[in-house]
Amino acid sequence: MDLIYQGWPWYVAGPLIALVMFLLIFMGKQFGMSSNLRTLCTMCGADKTAGFFDFNWRSQKWNLVVILGAAIGGFIAMNFLTADPAVDINPDTVANLNELGFASAGEAYLPSELYGMDALTDWKALAILIIGGFLIGFGARWAGGCTSGHAISGLSNLQLPSLIAVVGFFIGGLFMIHVLFPLIF
């Protein structure tokens, strides 16, 4: 039982993610999370502003139920299945993050410098969350998918466009971590 309360290893998590994808496929749907952002925009009335949002959002209700479940799953995992949420990352990564000013590295699930309640009144942390979120939403729709839709679903179906998108994800991510982070922090 103790194993459940610790972080789950990759060889348990990866197959379970594949199982989630196949369950959705057998329900006649597909595994892709970022399209929900478009659905939510349409529900808020964005279809009156841009043709991109003019579609029948009710056809996507099933996926909104999936993300509601993803939130409930986070609540269950945090409150009932986790003894200590601290993420045991590589000591070299911890040392590097300490240098950049992230004292919470190795001791928390998310960096308190960005995701603690104090971040909501810290203009720099707030700007990082807003810019990061904006790029996620903008980029995922431009690329037509995110990690679930391209890196898992698309690559499982051997789609070249998904491979191009995943290469793009890594170019952007590596540039952010290795070039921009030392300038930002």
Partner: protein
Amino acid sequence: MRVVGYLVIGIMFGIVMFKSEAASWFRIYEMFRFESFHMYGIIGSALVIGVLGTLLIKKNGMKDVQGEPITFQPKEKSFSRYMFGGIIFGLGWALAGACPGPIYTLIGAGYIPVIVVFLAALLGTFVYGLLRDKLPH
């Protein structure tokens, strides 16, 4: 009844994202520094099973629960939208340390500031919708 099915699948996904730490900003940072196999193992093992399962479904012409044959939509062919959109997504993924699935999981886990990331992602999606015709696809 189907709603219950989607909810259960979502809950399972949320628990796996949280417990595997794929929803952790630290794991994503560590991945981009190539200092752990963890995230590559998760994506890689999901992919090996994903590729084999997809082949199996196609080869046997399997049907979904409604009895409809399962089809896989090929992604439309292009380079620029996937490369440029992918780079923009990657910049945000590394900065905020969250993908569009784990965002909901983290909010459910009680990390209130993630709501800011979620609202900004909605805004980013909206702005993409406004600019779509002006962007290369």
